[in-house]
Structures are given as structure tokens and as C-alpha cells.
Amino acid sequence: MLFNSFDFAIFLPVVFLLYWFVFKHSLRLQNALIVVASYVFYGWWDWRFLSLILFSTLVDFLVGKQLEKEAKDNKRRLWLWLSVVVNLGFLGFFKYFNFFLENFQAAFSFFGFEIGGRALSIVLPVGISFYTFQTLSYTIDVYKRKLKPTQDFIAFAAFVSFFPQLVAGPIERATHLLPQFYRKRQFSYPLAANGCRQILWGFFKKLVIADNCAEYANLIFNNSESYSGSTLFLGALFFAFQIYGDFSGYSDIAIGTSRLFGFDLMKNFAFPYFSRDIAEFWRRWHISLSTWFRDYVYIPLGGSRGSKWGQIRNVFIIFLVSGFWHGANWTFMVWGGLNALYFLPLLLLKLNRSNMEVVAERSSFPSAKELLQMGITFILTVLAWVSFRAEDIAHAWQIYVGIFDSTLFTVPREVLSSKLLMCIVLVLFFVFVEWLGRRREFAIEYLLEAHPRWLRWSWYIFLIFLMGMFMQTEETPFIYFQF
């Protein structure tokens, strides 16, 4: 089920009313309702893949119990490996099987050997990369004794399948989300109202910003061979706003929806395009994934301790793995590699933690230096997005060559139109609102908070109007569903 669908507009109020009115006296029944609702939500897309979620849930629940019983380290490690192999096995098969097969075949054929095997027609289960990592966090934390294993299967199943964040995150940690399923829930008006505001802003980002930018990003990337450098760069800019609006919009809707049910999910985006360096960008972009890799890959590898070469190796590993997580295509590896290259100088010069505060914390406008830093970081990010969006390496290369051409400094006449202007105005409006709300959890969280209700409501109605006037009229899936 898509958030931006009529089905969800019916589904959400029904589940909400059942949750708070029919099942409000029993925590267990509320959790059971969440499981059922989540399975319906997921099954709406393809019910067959519910078996994968159920199997992962069963395996990790049982592994958790065994990890508690088992005292010996080597046996505990074996149980952990079972969970890792099962979860990553599913992920590897559905997401990476064809990629590895094709690349092995290509590598062997380069050396004159032909190996058999045909690519399989595999449907990638929506959200598998997200829930796999979430459930893995449980077994790893139980293994590390950071978390007591749960004895409540319903609560655990609800944790794994929690519908607001099941298919595209935020990827929750068991230590953060699972305990919330044990606690009696009290409806909180401020939390729910805040959730509604966040849902509204999420929909605005998706329907107005992402989907309108997508029109131009797709047009330019799909016909890249016929465009000038300036148009190609414009396409990359549009893609930057498309992916941000799309993914952070999804996260906002997910977090806002969770709040309606009394849950607090982790923040996933913190105004990343206002970052002053790449390290700050990565503290603000897809936070739940970045911190997952930091805690479960980067730190166990040694992190930023140890020798310089060790640090460099770790940075590359984390960024390449992060790129590879997004999809079975070398373009994602290049994207990860580029970000590693951007990040490395900051790490080596120990400047990677120099911008920890919100930009222009105590003023309305950034300083000239901050503006320059933000501009450079944004352009670097946009350039990296090219390989993320490109179909393959050759396509990415063709666009890079096209951008760094003398035509970069010309007017992008090929796509110049009043519709393009409209899209740019919408993006500028969006950036302005995000700037105003950059100190908050999400941009419109407390916008106009000191003003009377009629003014705040007028603002929300205006946002709804903008959606009605500018939304794309076809249902458009979220980009991160494919990951």
C-alpha cells in the first residue's frame, strides 16, 4: 500500500480508531492489531512475500531466546551467524543474485573461462533491505548483551513489521523501538497533533516537490545524450530535490503516522542540504542507515581509531557498503566511493566534526562563509547523485562528461518553459520553509507556533491547496521502495 493512495486514506483512520477505541484496554491486543494491520499493509502489494517477513521474525525471535539461554561464546556466535546468514541470505538472493552472477560471468569470461548459469527473473520484495537491517539490529544487540531478548512474540512481530516504517524506514534499532511495544500507550494530543503536521509536510514534500522535480529529472536523465552541460546539471539538481523530497517525505509520513499510535521513531533527515561539509551531510542524511552502519560495521572495524590507513580503509568500506545496500548496480558503488573521497580529507585533517551545530543557529541568515560552504557541499552532493540516478556506469560517465563541458555555462534552453519555472518556484518556496524550520525536528513543526490558530490552520490549508494544485495525478511510488 502506498502512503499516497486512496487505500491508505481509508486504512489509516480505520486502524487508528480500532487501536484507540476498540483495543485501547489491552496492550497485547493493540500489538496484535499492529501486526495484522502491518501484514495487510504489506500484503496489499504482494501477500506472498509476507512469508519472508514471518520467517525472519520467527528466526530472530528464536535466535534471541537461544542467545539468552546459551552462555558459551562460541555457541552464541553460531546463533548470531544463523540470524545473519538467514537475513542476509534472503537479502542477497533477492537483491544481489543476478548482479553477482553477471559479474562473475563477466570476470571469468575476461580470463577466457565461460561459466554457465542464467539470470533469474526475481521480484525484489519491497522493503527487504529495511526490515532485514532492523531485525538484524535485534539479534546483534542481544548478542552483545545490550538488549534483553523479548519473550513476547506478538510485540516482536509488531516491531519487525510496524507498518509506518516497514517498507522504507527509518530503520529502527531494537533498543529504541522494541521497548515501546512493552509500554502501555496513552494517547497524547501534542504528539498526535505533531504527527499530523509531520504527515502533512511529508505529503507536501512527496507530492509537490519530489514528483514535480521527477518530471524534469526523468526527462533530462532519460535523454541525456541530447542535452547541454547546463541542462544536465539542472537535471541533477532536480534529482537532488526529487530524492530528498521523496525519501524524507516518506520518513516524515512514517514518523508522523507512528506518533498517531503513540510511537516515537528516530529522526531520519535533518535538513541535509544545509550542511557545511560532507561529514555534516552524512550526519543529516538517512540518519537511521548511516548510524546503523556506523554502529554495526564502522565501529567494529575500528572506526576512526588506529592507523591512518586503517581509517581510510574503514571510510571506504562503510561508504561502499552503504552504496551497495542501495542496489545491485556499480553506479551505487561509485556514488558511495565519491562520498568516501569527499569525506576523506575531512577525516584526515580531523575536520569531520567541525560543524556539529545547526547552521546559523542564532541568526536568520547564514554568514558568507557558511553560504559558500553550503553551496560547495550541495554541489558535491548533486554531482554524486548523478551516478546514483544513472542507469549504468557508462550513462553516469556520459553525463559527467556532458556536465563538465563548455556548455555548462549556457542557458538550458532545451527545457526552458513556464512549467520549468513553476517547478523552480516550488523548490525555492520549499527551501525557504525548510530554512525557517531548520532548528526543528521537521520544517513546519513549530512554524507560526506563537500565532493564533486561524493563522496556523490557514497555513496548513494553503499547503493542502498547493498539493491539490501541483501534485502529479498518477500514483507515483516512492524511490526507496526499490531498495
Partner: protein
């Protein structure tokens, strides 16, 4: 919880009129079309539906009522029929599918009391969802509850926006006081009394014949069409289904003409004029399937002869 639900309810009660107010203000005050993305059909837009509706509202009686898409309002010239003593009114509209045709027929059938309804059944129209026509009729057609329900049936934001804007224009009198130009040089169109729109002879739309393909009639549009057939049977009004002639090479390129013909002829009187006459793009048509005035004259002559010979009109 109760406070939350109460506030949500009040918010929606405020938001709905609030949305309408902003939409109306935006649609009518912002001069740039690109900033009205989901409000793209307006009063007096393509096809002269506004003028046609105003004329239709004042007709007491006609011999022949024509329904259908642009093939209808560009294919049946009331002046030619008038020369033969036949009163014809053309109620076609842009991309009109049976879904909208049914609503218009219910709206005007009892008022104009035709002896014969000619339904132009270009199969390409039966392939469409009908949104464009819904928007056109909401913006320019008659304003009534059945027409408003077209928006709910389309269940599309553009249709709701068009309905809201039309309601506003209707109630504040702007709709009534509007004057649509009869000649639109940009489109090469001239409105002719009787609902017809004549294309300038010099106008040609560049088109190329695609690879061979088949018509694929949508089930929902077919069901609406069956309702039209039933309604006319009930009202004892004769129905003639007509496919006006299209470019002969284009026609031959369609793989399932026989199937389409047998489907329509199974419902009653049906003539596919592409089988009776060979017309050609640029000479008789301004694109592959819309007639120029010279083509209309040839086609209408043959049609009138058929109507007389077959006794469709007393």
C-alpha cells in the same frame, strides 16, 4: 482523544471551504497558466463547448441530435443538413466518451426531442478514461447535479478543482456573462450555429501513420454506451451509430476493424463511412482522422442520402 478527533473534524470542516476559496482565488487571479497545473480546463477552452451549451439550452426542437467527440462536432455541419430541410444540432465535445455522452443525453434529450440521434462512435474514444471530456464539460457544459457527478466518477483532483471553480463562476454570475469568441484564429476554429466547429482550410496537423494496431475498447465505456442505447430505446428515439470517415490508409492500418464493426452493428443501425468512401489526409482531412470542410461536405452529402434512402427521417 476526544479533543483530537473534534479538532481534526473541525479542521476538515474549515479546510474544505478554505481550499475552495484559495482555489477559486488562485485560478482566477494568477495570470500564469503554468501555475495552475491541476486547473487546466477553463471557460471558453478548446472546442467551443461553452457556446454550444448556451445554444443547446435555448433549443426547443431538432430533427437530429449528434453526440460524440471532436469527430462529431467537426464532422456534421448543420448548414448542409439545413439545405436539405433537416434541423441538426451537434452536441459533441472534446474527447467526449460515452460516460459524458450519457450525461449530456439525459440533460437534453427531453428538451430537444430529436427524431434521430446520431452517435459518432470513433473507437479511439472508447479507449479513453474520459477525464479530458469531464473537465471540458465541468468548465463549459451545463451546470447540474448529473454533470457534477462526473467529477466524483472521475475521482481525480483535476475534476474536483474544475467543479469547485465552475460552481464559483456559476454562482457569482461570471459564467453567464462570459462571451466566448466565435472565431479562434490560434486554433483555426470558427463556431457555426448548431454546435458545429469548422476548421480553417489552411490548417494541417502534421501526423504520421503508426504501425498497424488494434482498437481496445474499455469495458466501462462500453457499459455506458449500452446505457445510451437502452435509454434511447426506452424513449423511442431512433439511434444511428456512425463512424465518420478517416484517412483510408490509416483505416486500413487498423487490424480489428471487422471486429469493431460487428460489435457496433450488433447493437443496432450502424454505418462505418470509411468503408463507403475513401478520403485522404491533407486533401479531405486536416489530420489522420479529423475532416476538413471539403471532407465534411463529401461525408455529409453521402450521410444525408443514406438517411433519406433508409427512411431514418420522416
Amino acid at each position: 482523544m476526544k479533543v483530537f478527533l473534534k479538532r481534526i473534524l473541525i479542521f476538515f470542516l474549515v479546510a474544505i471551504p478554505g481550499y475552495c476559496v484559495i482555489l477559486v482565488a488562485w485560478s482566477n487571479l494568477i495570470p500564469f497558466e503554468a501555475f495552475k497545473k491541476n486547473m487546466n480546463y477553463k471557460m471558453g477552452s478548446y472546442g467551443h463547448m461553452y457556446t454550444r451549451t448556451n445554444e443547446a439550452n435555448n433549443i426547443q426542437k431538432t430533427d437530429v441530435l449528434v453526440l460524440g467527440s471532436s469527430h462529431a462536432y467537426r464532422g456534421f455541419d448543420p448548414r448542409i443538413f439545413k439545405n436539405e430541410g433537416i434541423e441538426l444540432f451537434n452536441l459533441g465535445s472534446s474527447n467526449q466518451t460515452p460516460r459524458q455522452g450519457l450525461v449530456l443525453l439525459k440533460e437534453y434529450l427531453n428538451q430537444v426531442k430529436p427524431e434521430l440521434v446520431i452517435y459518432e462512435v470513433y473507437p479511439g474514444i472508447f479507449q479513453q478514461d474520459g477525464l479530458e471530456s469531464t473537465l471540458d464539460i465541468l468548465a463549459n457544459g451545463p451546470f447540474s447535479w448529473p454533470v457534477a457527478t462526473l467529477a466524483f466518477k472521475a475521482n481525480h483532483i483535476k475534476a474536483y478543482n474544475a467543479l469547485i471553480n465552475r460552481a464559483f463562476l456559476q454562482f457569482c454570475g461570471t459564467y453567464e456573462s462570459y462571451n466566448e469568441p466565435l472565431v479562434k484564429p490560434k486554433d483555426g476554429d470558427t463556431y457555426v450555429r448548431g454546435g458545429y466547429v469548422q476548421k480553417d482550410d489552411s490548417y494541417v496537423r502534421a501526423q504520421r501513420i503508426k504501425n498497424a494496431y488494434s482498437w481496445n475498447i474499455r469495458q466501462d465505456q462500453w457499459s455506458y454506451f449500452l446505457e445510451i442505447v437502452e435509454l434511447l430505446k426506452k424513449e423511442k428515439v431512433e439511434l444511428l451509430m456512425v463512424q465518420s470517415p478517416i484517412d483510408s490508409t490509416y483505416f486500413e492500418n487498423i487490424l480489428n476493424n471487422d471486429e469493431v464493426d460487428s460489435r457496433f452493428s450488433g447493437l443496432g443501425n450502424y454505418i462505418n463511412f470509411s468503408r463507403l468512401m475513401k478520403l485522404h489526409y491533407k486533401e479531405d482531412l486536416y489530420d489522420l482522422h479529423h475532416l476538413k470542410q471539403s471532407g465534411v461536405e463529401k461525408f455529409n452529402k453521402v450521410l444525408i442520402e443514406t438517411l433519406m434512402e433508409e427512411g431514418y427521417l420522416k
